[in-house]
Structure formats: structure tokens, C-alpha cells
């Protein structure tokens, strides 16, 4: 009987499977924002737990890559750890928490605070790739709407929110227009991260394993969050708040409650960014 270590190829998949995923990825890069169907293999982690992102990462990873995996901003979150472990076990490549050191960054629902650079690849895990699904259940129909660039439904959805609530009431996954052609779900990143997609220096790939779609925002692509002239796009606001640990402001923060006093305080959501700042401050203090 084979052991677990020898039973699997480098990066888990057989080479044929990797090629198939890379072909879909190349097509996705060629048509920014367009959802390319791909076969989507079953993975050793559950559907909905990042299998789309993981397939992209495993199809791209080479022996010289360094990877970083984050889940909702945290490198140490259980699922990030779990995914990292699987990549490590099947490839043996190096890992890092530092955003600038990584060649491939797989992330669930956040774009890191440290600006991404040329040559880096950000892989986002996507639960629901179809931005039009909220008002059209049928895949056949949404495919037609995209083909015809018929996005009145997407606009109406936002308009209805303004009528009901006085403003756009989207939370994470606020839809974006890519290169003035495709309306795209940026994955459930907070609205705060949407602008980071615009003219990004890094390649952004998005993978939806269960829904079997791959799509991409190539570097220097125009990505605009859907909004109206009189109701502009608004990221989450942390006005007046700063990180209790490192003092950062103008970053996306977790809202926390002090157990003893019951007081609300804020902390950087991007844990590696926060730690990096702390280390820096300490070094400067030591000098």
C-alpha cells in the first residue's frame, strides 16, 4: 500500500489536471472579469473552504515559489493554516507571513494592507462568483446577460437599496465593473479593499471551486465599484478609530469587545501588517 506522502504528485494534482487549470487561467487573464468555466477537481479540503483558490495556487506553484495564505486577514486563522499545510505537504515550498516576500498570496476575503507589487500573484477564494445571481437564479440566463452586457439588473439592485435604505446597502462583495466590460464579483472582500483592485501592480486571480469558475484581473486593469453620481461608492468607515495594538489608522479593522470592561476597541484585521508595524516600532525604539 502506498503511503500518503508518495501517493500524490508534486502539488497534489497530476500534470494533466494542472495544465487544464492553467489553460482556463490564461483564458481568464485574456478576458478580464469574464468567468471561465473549468472542470474543478475535488480537493482534500471541502467545497466552499477555498478549493477554487487552492486549485489555482497548486496549478501555478513551482519549486522556487514562496507562498502566503490568509483567511479573513489572518495568517494564523485555522483555515489558512490548514491550506498552508496542504500546500507545504504536497510541494515542500517555503512559506511566509510577510506580504512583500510572497510570490503567491492566497487569500479569503481580504487584499493585504501592504501594497502588492509587480510579479506577485494574489489568488482570491470565491464562494459565489456570479454578481447577478441575487436577481437571476439561472446560470444560462446570467451567462446571456453578461454576453449582452445587460446589467440593468445590477444597477436596479443598487437603486432599490437606495430607495429602501437611503443608501447602497451592500456589504462585502460589492460588484465592480472591469475594464468597462464585465460586471464582476470581487469575492467577499470588504468594500474597503475594492479600490485596491484598480490598476493593481499584481495579477489578481479569482477561483470558485464549487461553482467551477476562474476569473482574473490582470495588472493595470481598470476596476470601478458600481455606484451612482449622486450616491458615490463608500468603503466601510473606521473614522476616528485606530488600532489598539499598533496605532494604525486608515486600515480595515476588526471591532472587538474588551471582556472585562465591555468596551469596544479596534485592531488591524491584517495580522501580519500589524505585527510588522509593531516590530518596526520596537526596532526604532531600541535605536
Amino acid at each position: 500500500m502506498m503511503t500518503t506522502a508518495t501517493a500524490y504528485n508534486f502539488a497534489f494534482f497530476d500534470e494533466g489536471s494542472k495544465r487544464e487549470i492553467r489553460r482556463a487561467t490564461l483564458k481568464a487573464i485574456s478576458i478580464p472579469g469574464y468567468q471561465v468555466p473549468f472542470a474543478s477537481r475535488e480537493m482534500p479540503i471541502a467545497r466552499g473552504w477555498g478549493t477554487g483558490g487552492l486549485q489555482l495556487t497548486l496549478s501555478l506553484v513551482g519549486k522556487n515559489d514562496t507562498m502566503k495564505v490568509i483567511d479573513q486577514g489572518a495568517d494564523e486563522s485555522v483555515n489558512a493554516v490548514n491550506i498552508k499545510k496542504l500546500i507545504e505537504n504536497t510541494t515542500g515550498i517555503g512559506k511566509t507571513d510577510e506580504t512583500s516576500e510572497a510570490t503567491i498570496i492566497q487569500s479569503r476575503h481580504r487584499i493585504p494592507e501592504v501594497p502588492l507589487t509587480k510579479g506577485q500573484i494574489l489568488v482570491l477564494q470565491v464562494p459565489l462568483p456570479e454578481p447577478l445571481r441575487a436577481f437571476e437564479a439561472s446560470e444560462l440566463e446570467t451567462k446571456k446577460l453578461h454576453a449582452e452586457k445587460e446589467y440593468s439588473g445590477a444597477w436596479l439592485m443598487l437603486f432599490e437599496q437606495i430607495m429602501k435604505y437611503g443608501n447602497m446597502a451592500t456589504d462585502a462583495d460589492h460588484p465592480v465593473m472591469v475594464e468597462n466590460r464585465y460586471v464582476m464579483a470581487p469575492s467577499p472582500i470588504p468594500r474597503f479593499d475594492n479600490p485596491k483592485m484598480n490598476h493593481s501592480d499584481a495579477l489578481i486571480l479569482l477561483g470558485a471551486g464549487r461553482e467551477k469558475k476562474v476569473y482574473a484581473v490582470p495588472p493595470y486593469t481598470r476596476v470601478v465599484s458600481l455606484a451612482f453620481q449622486d450616491h458615490p461608492f463608500e468603503p466601510e468607515s473606521f473614522e476616528g478609530e485606530s488600532c489598539k495594538v499598533c496605532g494604525a489608522n486608515s486600515v480595515f479593522m476588526d471591532e472587538l469587545v474588551e471582556e472585562e470592561s465591555g468596551e469596544t476597541y479596534y485592531q488591524c484585521n491584517d495580522t501580519s501588517y500589524c505585527i510588522e508595524r509593531l516590530n518596526q516600532a520596537q526596532e526604532e525604539g531600541a535605536l
Binding site: F13, K85, E139
Partner: protein
């Protein structure tokens, strides 16, 4: 508080996995894979069918690892399956070649070759057999050897590899709708993702690997009222099908093929009466067929698949069970259990974003109310 929730993940996971192993082992008794293979035929068949991987041995290991939880066992096998390169494609398998173990028809009493009950729980009384709690190896062995002795002396001339199909009888009478032979190369849903409208080969594959409970529930809804079908089991077969591949060096030579093994399958051919309009508006009743086939002996599933196959051939906007996206997207075990279980993952960022949005709308409302009050003043 925040960092407590996310830090230390590595250690927590390791401990959790150790605890899981403890749950499997704490009764200090090994469940041998050979025991699973020997005594868990039903679970093995269901697991192989939902995994689309035919191997009793691998299924048994998966069942052991999953502590008998089918959704977990299927998950393990599917993940393993997706790493296997596709080395050969088999020759076409024709179900007339089945070495039949069981074969019944609910439509005709007297079918050529006869009704063959084979092994079925259908006519057992579901009374708990308390003797099984104390069954010994001796009891079992003596019963088996008696049974096998009897079997060899019992002779019957029926050739179980050459049973004609019940459907053929109806077809010869002109009662089944004619359909053209379709020898199109089938699509492979594990190599190309589903797009709509789907092809029949895609539909059959997804139904065949569907979760037993999900496929059964949807088919049940169809015949109970959320569908427009009244099916009868034309023929239900359980048996082994031989698999051949062509000589890999010269795959064009159909005469030079190799037998590589057998698969046990359940096949259901369902009959649905439909009204067809003939010349001059004359109406006649004919039968349509719904086809179900799956690995192992999974009769409820095969019959349900037959019902759903026919539903999806006859789309009807009134019923979700006749809508291919509704049915095909939601019956896969790995996909549905995966997405439901992902709800257990942290959603701190998305929830923070939602909080922001909720607060914003509240603020807008209170501002508006204030304005209204000011106007009144």
C-alpha cells in the same frame, strides 16, 4: 479577544485532529478493512456510487477513516479520484451483457427469463435480529457452507448473461416512442464543467454520482405532486458488467481488446405514459423512458435517477424538479456538504462589513426621522 480567535491555529488544529483519532480508537478495538469489506456492502455500494470510483477496497478504507460517515467517506474518495490520471477509456458497455443477479419488472408479470428476485431486503420484515449481537464465526461459516452446497446442486438452465430487456418487448410492439440512436462521444463532467443547456450524457453522469438522499428526495417530490410524472418500473437489474479496453498500442483495432474487470451496477428503466399527438390531431398514449444507472446495489437511487432523467428531458417551468439547473447543481454530496459546512468558517471581515452597512442604514433612518420632526415643528 480578536487575536485569541485567530492565533494559535496550527496547534489547535493538530490537537483537534488528535482528538478525532482518539474518537475512532478509544474503544480500543480495531475495525479491520476486511471486516468492512465483508459486512458493509450497503455502505460500500453507496459510497462507491456517490464517489464515482469503483473499488470496494478503497471504499472500505475510506469508510474506516471516516468512521462510517458516508459524506466524509465520499469526500475522501473523490479527493483521491481527482489525482488519478486518465490512462484509458473503456469500450462501450452494453447492459444486455450484464451477468444478472437480480432482475424484476413491475410492469409485466411474465417477462422472458422470469422475475429473478436475487438478494433483496424488499420482503424482509424489518425486525431487529438480536441474534446478530452474539453471532459467532462458527455460526456464520456453517450457514455459508450449507448455503453454498445447496446452490451448486440447484440447477436452472436460464442463461443469466443473455436476458432480453423488458423494454424491447414494448419497443417491438411500437408502444415506446422511437428515438434515434445517439453515438455521440459523451461529455465528461469531471473534465469539463457543466454548461447549460446540458447534454444528456452530462445529466446522466451527475445524477449517477448524486447523493443518494438528495436524488431520492427530489424524485419523491416529483411523484408526490411537485412534478408531472407517473412512472412504473419497466425493469430493474442488478448485476456485473464486464469492462474491456482496446489494445493501447493500436486502439483502433476493436477485435483486440482486454478484459480489465467487472463493475456491479444497478440499472433502472422507468416507463412513463405520455400523450402524443399524431396525424390529424389524433392523440395516442405511448411510453417514454427514464434511465437510471449507478455503481453497486442502490435500487432506490437508480429508480430515482430514472425519474429525474425523464423530468429533465421534459422541462417544465412549473416544477423545480423539471429544471436542470435546480436538480443538477444541488444533488452532489461533496458540493452541498462542503458549502453548508463552510458556514462554520470565520466570517469576521464579511460580518464587520455587514455591520457597517446596517449601522449606516440605521443612521440614515434616524436622520430622516429627525428631519421629519423638525419639519413638523
Amino acid at each position: 479577544m480578536g487575536y485569541v480567535a485567530v492565533k494559535g491555529g496550527t496547534h489547535a488544529i493538530e490537537e483537534s485532529i488528535r482528538r478525532l483519532k482518539y474518537e475512532r480508537t478509544k474503544k480500543k478495538s480495531i475495525l479491520h478493512v476486511k471486516n468492512i469489506e465483508a459486512g458493509m456492502r450497503g455502505l460500500i455500494d453507496q459510497t462507491m456510487s456517490e464517489s464515482s470510483l469503483f473499488s470496494e477496497k478503497l471504499a472500505s478504507i475510506a469508510i474506516k477513516q471516516a468512521e462510517g460517515n458516508p459524506e466524509e467517506a465520499v469526500f475522501l474518495l473523490r479527493a483521491y479520484r481527482s489525482t488519478l490520471p486518465r490512462k484509458h477509456y473503456s469500450n462501450k458497455v452494453v447492459s444486455e451483457d450484464m451477468r444478472v443477479e437480480r432482475r424484476i419488472s413491475a410492469s409485466f408479470k411474465d417477462i422472458p427469463g422470469g422475475q429473478i428476485l436475487g438478494a433483496t431486503t424488499d420482503y424482509t420484515h424489518r425486525l431487529l435480529d438480536f441474534n446478530l449481537a452474539t453471532e459467532t464465526d462458527e455460526d456464520l461459516l456453517s450457514w455459508v457452507s450449507d448455503f453454498e452446497k445447496e446452490e451448486t446442486t440447484d440447477s436452472d438452465d436460464t442463461d443469466l448473461t443473455k436476458l432480453t430487456k423488458v423494454i424491447d418487448y414494448l419497443r417491438n410492439e411500437g408502444l415506446v416512442q422511437e428515438c434515434e440512436r445517439n453515438d455521440q462521444e459523451p461529455d465528461d463532467v469531471t473534465r469539463k464543467s457543466l454548461e447549460f443547456p446540458s447534454s444528456r450524457s452530462e445529466r446522466l453522469q451527475i445524477l449517477s454520482r448524486g447523493q443518494t438522499g438528495a436524488v431520492t428526495s427530489l424524485a419523491y417530490a416529483v411523484i408526490r405532486g411537485y412534478g408531472s410524472l407517473h412512472p412504473t418500473v419497466g425493469e430493474l437489474r442488478v448485476g456485473d458488467l464486464p469492462i474491456y479496453i482496446n489494445n493501447p498500442i493500436d486502439p483502433t483495432d476493436d477485435d483486440d481488446s482486454y478484459f480489465i474487470g467487472e463493475i456491479k451496477v444497478t440499472e433502472a428503466e422507468m416507463l412513463m405514459p405520455v400523450t402524443v399527438e399524431k396525424e390529424h390531431g389524433k392523440k395516442e398514449i405511448e411510453f417514454e423512458i427514464g434511465y437510471g444507472v449507478c455503481y453497486g446495489q442502490n435500487e432506490t437511487k437508480a429508480i430515482s435517477m430514472g425519474i429525474l432523467d425523464n423530468c429533465l428531458e421534459n422541462k417544465n417551468p412549473d416544477y423545480p424538479s423539471h429544471n436542470e439547473e435546480f436538480v443538477l447543481f444541488h444533488i452532489d454530496s461533496v458540493e452541498s456538504t462542503g458549502f453548508i459546512s463552510h458556514l462554520k468558517m470565520p466570517h469576521y471581515v464579511t460580518f464587520q462589513s455587514k455591520l457597517d452597512s446596517v449601522r449606516k442604514t440605521k443612521k440614515k433612518h434616524s436622520e430622516l426621522n429627525q428631519e421629519k420632526q423638525e419639519v413638523r415643528v
